[in-house]
Symmetry: C2
């Protein structure tokens, strides 16, 4: 999903994280599945999540997750790789991510090429 | 808002509460204001929240909050009174309501007739 023409990946600062923007991001079942999957696998490229969604819709979901502060994205070669912002979320909203991963258990999706 | 023709007020059981239904309910700014206001006032009749919303839309917001399990509603004479389900929410999702009330501070609305 990364490309030479991509605009820079903007991530909100830890102090800017907004609980209600995060809740809004998690209110979508596809985005929740992505977050729960990232709770199991550490770093996952965008294209490897086995989700029943078109690539353009998936890009939008990843952008919403990144802009909410739930995930950090970085470009590694031709791939865009995703990870949860565990430490920052834990400092700003103690217990929230644990609760989300616990209550969301079972909503993980398969990841192509994962163990 | 209560009336003799109202259907019974259905509340989800504590075991049925769903974190993501709750987050979805809180993703709306009007509903968030209602919840944060109920964090300050114990029991508030529907019609007394000073919100810039038509009565029918307000009824819908209260219904969504009740069906998510965030609030309990009861009819007292001609009024429908609302309260947070603090104990049940605290048992099911420890820390969540405290986080919501803390992060939502400042989003309270005035309540007609309140001190």
């Amino acid at each position: 999903m990364a490309s030479r023409t991509s605009s820079p990946l903007v991530h909100p600062d830890e102090r800017e994280l907004d609980l209600f923007v995060i809740m809004s991001a998690l209110a979508d079942p596809i985005r929740l599945s992505i977050v729960v999957t990232l709770g199991v696998h550490t770093e996952v490229p965008c294209g490897t999540f086995e989700l029943p969604v078109a690539k353009s819709a998936l890009s939008r979901h990843f952008r919403i997750l990144r802009e909410s502060g739930l995930i950090r994205q970085r470009d590694a070669g031709t791939r865009r790789v995703n990870a949860l912002r565990r430490e920052e979320l834990g400092r700003r909203f103690p217990g929230l991510l644990d609760l989300v991963l616990k209550e969301g258990a079972g909503r993980e999706v398969a990841v192509a090429g994962a163990d």
